[in-house]
């Protein structure tokens, strides 16, 4: 009824069915590099195991001002707890490592944050940001982690592709070893703003016209105008963009690692590529195109259709 009331395509979702009752991301560590986190949020209780602010070199990652919200919203999509409150994230029992960046940050500080993610044992790193011009040193660190992290299995680094309807170009998301995520909309098509390119891997709902319901800093802080602790899908300040799509995929990967922690980064990429829905009105050649990557993530395909074994190779 929600879909018909809001004129949403009946397939404009990631086909969760009841899988989130079985899969929660338990045992998996997800690092989120973003602008701040409300660590006191009721719907994140018990989730945070490490935090680090690159500016202050402390564990205080609270938003820098009362209007900050982005990192809290991203984290909520991945990790909001399964409780009697609010929402449930894709991977409601993951452990969260939050790494706070600053808007204008040096390459060495960026590398420091990836070092911290590695030090704190991150299996997955979510990055809902980009610079459009990744430096050699930052790229080197990201590639090294993607290949050698997680004791050689490869840390899975997920980047939002960007919201400017342009080619990903020299962006961090265009590094071949990362998982680049674009956005789909309520019509189950590429969102008009979603960046594209030959290194786009996959797409996931990012919103347009309607947003993604997620967490907002509690009380008067943040951006929500309808609920004090949550950004609702129909809030005038709704949460929309590839920033929302990337954590959906990060959460899905956490569920995959719960099923089989021995999966390598390459194996995870292959499973995602082969199980994605070939949506959209652009031809797929060799299973992909530059606007949808390998298609839209489909949780049921990954876990229930058993097309691809989770057994270690």
């Amino acid at each position: 009824m929600f879909y018909s009331q809001n004129a949403i395509n009946e397939n404009a979702h990631i086909n969760v069915k009841n899988l989130l009752q079985t899969y929660t991301g338990e045992g998996v560590r997800v690092a989120i590099i973003d602008d701040g986190l409300d660590t006191q949020h009721e719907d994140l209780k018990g989730s945070i195991i490490h935090s680090y602010d690159v500016t202050t070199k402390t564990s205080d990652v609270s938003h820098s001002d009362s209007s900050g919200y982005h990192g809290t919203a991203v984290t909520g999509i991945i990790a909001a707890r399964k409780n009697l409150k609010g929402i449930q994230g894709i991977a409601s029992e993951v452990k969260v490592i939050f790494l706070k960046y600053k808007e204008k940050m040096s390459d060495s500080q960026t590398i420091e944050l990836f070092n911290k993610a590695e030090e704190f044992g991150a299996d997955i790193i979510n990055c809902s940001w980009g610079t459009y011009d990744v430096s050699d040193a930052v790229k080197d660190k990201i590639v090294d982690l993607s290949i050698n992290g997680r004791n050689g299995k490869g840390t899975i680094i997920v980047f939002a592709s960007g919201n400017d309807d342009i080619d990903m170009g020299n962006d961090e998301s265009a590094i071949p070893e990362v998982i680049a995520v674009g956005a789909t909309d309520k019509d189950n098509l590429r969102a008009y703003y979603s960046n594209y390119g030959k290194f786009l891997d996959i797409v996931a709902p990012g919103g347009y016209y309607l947003g993604i319901t997620t967490l907002d800093p509690i009380g008067e802080d943040g951006i929500s105008s309808k609920d004090i602790n949550y950004i609702l899908y129909d809030d005038s300040n709704y949460f929309v963009g590839t920033s929302a799509s990337a954590p959906i995929v990060s959460g899905v990967i956490a569920l995959m690692l719960q099923e089989n922690a021995a999966l390598t980064r390459v194996e995870i990429e292959n499973i995602l590529h082969k199980t994605s829905d070939k949506v959209g009105n652009v031809m797929y050649l060799d299973e992909r195109n530059d606007y949808y990557g390998y298609g839209k993530v489909n949780l049921t395909n990954i876990f229930l259709n058993k097309r691809y074994s989770f057994a270690p190779s």
Binding site: K102, S106, S108, Y132, S135
Partner: protein
């Protein structure tokens, strides 16, 4: 003929905008033009725009990846550099004597056989998505 003239004018314009200032990215030269100087109590940052239109802040710090730490020590003396920190294996954050020297020193290091790459420790805007 008209097309040739237009192309020549554009080429000269690009030269005037980017001049001889460049840095190395993936072993290729990328043009830089100075945007503005920001002086603060404890930081001193010059902002440039590269040929892709990206704003880059440059300070007295640069990053170098070396094949061999022993030769890096030679270069520290040659260019009057100090090690700020080791960022990861064979990857170092170095400090110059003056931010006005950073680009030039990074380029010279980049041209050394035992250096895999060198570039200023760029300050960039992270855009939330």
């Amino acid at each position: 003929m008209k097309k040739t003239v237009i192309i020549c004018i554009l080429f000269v314009s690009v030269l005037q905008v980017f001049g001889n200032t460049y840095y190395y990215k993936n072993n290729k030269k990328v043009g830089l033009s100075l945007k503005k100087v920001v002086s603060r109590a404890t930081t001193n940052i010059d902002y440039y725009v590269n040929e892709y239109g990206i704003e880059l802040g440059i300070t007295d710090k640069l990053i170098v990846k070396t094949k061999n730490k022993k030769t890096l020590i030679i270069y520290l003396d040659e260019f009057n550099l100090s090690i700020e920190k080791e960022l990861s294996k064979d990857l170092y954050l170095l400090k110059t004597m003056d931010k006005n020297l950073t680009i030039n020193i990074a380029n010279k290091l980049n041209e050394k056989n035992t250096i895999l790459y060198a570039h200023p420790d760029f300050i960039k805007k992270r855009m939330m998505r």
